[in-house]
């Protein structure tokens, strides 16, 4: 079977016995087998490229070209609907001198940390629990994924109510344990915690399921061997589970980092009327919001493009660091 197929894909005539098709079934002249084999060869050679072409065309038009064009715009002074004027690195130097840019950079970093680190740790714990033999396991899995079905906008609007400093349920609950009147909107850290709560709520279940899938692929022998050596369940979790699903952990860290760098909708809607500036004092304005502010409120597309490219550089930097960490980790494990 395999050899005869190899022969066909080399362009030779199809082996007799399987080759003859009912003549005229597709209207192709049965006599011109040379023509047909040429067409066949073209088909096998070209069709893979035809199948992947839609993706690459779409990416070239709506991904690569705008990406490069944004870089070019960042070196120009250009207003919405206006013409570009070359200014070199002026947009970047004016960002460097702008306190709100640095604020946005710091906010993006702190919001990123407090929304991804607890999220991934909780997801890891939940996945471990879901990996036990449980009653109603299917229900638990669907239930913790349910927040994933809500949108950024809807979730943010609901959490704004829950976090309202004057009448929100969360301050009422905190009041019972003696914490009075946290300013979830106007002071910096409470506002950032509230926003990262929205992110964490929406994504923890999703990441837990990804961890769970990885945990279920870990070989049972490893656990048996560990149990024979007298390792406790906690020890097994640390020494068997975590190392075995390390690639998946890296995957989720990278994906969440990318997501955190572009945080936009949650702070925008959380802030309501002052969302674009990230609160009255820019206390939770992210880079993404800052870019929108510059581009669509102020109308300086060149400066907005510079912000976008700063984001790209940051992502590349983070990616490089993560790659280094992954590589050194691999070396430590010996392979």
């Amino acid at each position: 079977m395999a050899t005869s197929v190899r022969a066909t894909s080399d362009g030779g005539p199809p082996p007799s016995g399987t080759a003859p098709r009912p003549p005229g079934r597709r209207g192709a002249p049965a006599s011109s087998s040379g023509w047909r084999s040429r067409l066949y060869r073209l088909d096998t050679k070209a069709s893979p490229y035809a199948y992947i072409a839609p993706f690459f065309l779409c990416f070239a038009a709506f991904g690569l070209f705008p990406l490069i064009y944004t870089g070019w715009l960042s070196l120009n002074e250009v207003q919405l609907g206006g013409h570009a004027k070359w200014v070199g690195f002026d947009n970047y130097t004016s960002l460097w001198d702008n306190e709100f840019f640095w604020k946005a950079l710091r906010n993006t970093f702190t919001l990123g940390v407090i929304s991804t680190v607890p999220q991934l740790l909780m997801a890891l714990g939940l996945a471990h629990l879901l990996n036990y033999r449980l009653r109603a396991r299917g229900f638990f899995r669907v239930a913790i994924l349910a927040p994933y079905a809500t949108s950024i906008a809807a979730a943010s609007l609901v959490f704004v109510q829950l976090f309202n400093p004057d009448y929100g349920m969360i301050n009422q609950l905190l009041g019972h344990v003696g914490v009075d009147h946290v300013q979830w909107a106007s002071s910096k850290w409470p506002a950032q915690i509230a926003i990262s709560t929205i992110v964490t709520w929406r994504w923890t279940g999703y990441n837990a399921l990804i961890y769970l899938a990885a945990m279920q692929a870990v070989s049972a022998d490893l656990y048996e061997a560990a149990a024979l050596d007298g390792a406790s369940r906690w020890r097994q979790f640390i020494s068997v589970t975590i190392p075995s699903i390390r690639p998946t952990i890296f995957f989720t860290i990278i994906v969440s980092t990318i997501g955190a760098t572009q945080l936009f909708g949650e702070p925008l809607i959380y802030g309501g009327g002052v969302g674009v500036t990230g609160g009255t004092d820019h206390q939770y304005q992210t880079l993404s919001l800052y870019m929108y502010d510059k581009g669509w409120q102020v109308g300086e597309l060149g400066q907005a493009s510079a912000v976008a490219w700063v984001m790209l550089l940051i992502l590349l930097l983070i990616g490089a660091v993560q790659l280094l960490v992954i590589r050194s980790n691999r070396r430590k494990l010996g392979g």
Partner: protein, 305 residues
Amino acid sequence: MAQLTEPVAYPGPRHSSTPQRRTRRLRAGGAGQQNKGGPLAYLFLIVATLVSLFPLYWTVVAASRTDTELVTPPTPLLPGSHLIDNLKIVWDQVDMTKALINSTIVAGCVALSTVLFSTLAGFAFAKLRFRGRNALLTIVVATMTIPPQLTVIPLYQIITNVGWVGHLQSVILPSLVAAFGVFFMRQFLSEALPIELIEAARVDGAHSLRIIWHVVFPVARPAMAVLGMLVFVQSWNDFFWPFIALSQQNPTVQVALAGVGSGNHQIDHAVVVCAALVATLPLLLVFAVLGRQIVSGITAGAVKS
């Protein structure tokens, strides 16, 4: 003990189409580890479930109350009787019918075309040999890391120039195919589609479009359904680019929601939450019916990368 040998329910019924070998490995791995969950495990899981579901439940509560009830502590915990009134006000404030229709059109088009193109490309990357395959696949994966912020400014200029601001095609066209989908289908097809099937069809003289139609699509159908749902959810909830490209005159649901929630005029909080409920309900219904399939879909492509 009987429960130990029971097949793991989690990969879902659709998993039966993947090769037996893999399923068995998963089961064996799961079974060895299936310590029975103690009371503490249940306690933590119940707390996690409550935290996950409570905001959803409270959305229903707040959507059926009045503004005054919401802003007077203690916050109500049971549904009230004003759901219909609030719905009426939502429809008065924004054209929710139009927004729902628009979202359905956008998410439907994006899901259909993403599934189609991703299946074609995923099949090529999984089963066909061609020059540059690995390098091109690496590029596909790498494009997932590019944030939309880096492309929106030129895209906005383009749609301004061709007069598409506020029109749905400006949101649909850039999302016709997604790297995630290509990768997802490639992962599925490299395991699920036996190369012998393609070779047999080749030997029978089928050209590649016939192979796609009669061999690849039937095998890929379960994964196509899952991918379609995931993309639909994602597209329905997409916010950043629609918020920039569309206006309140012709919004998707998410853009309409941002309009309800912002603005400096006196806001009726119950109405705002009610609008959020309207935007979320269609997906929650899908979730209630197909939750298990979505769960298995999210995890399907995640094990091996």
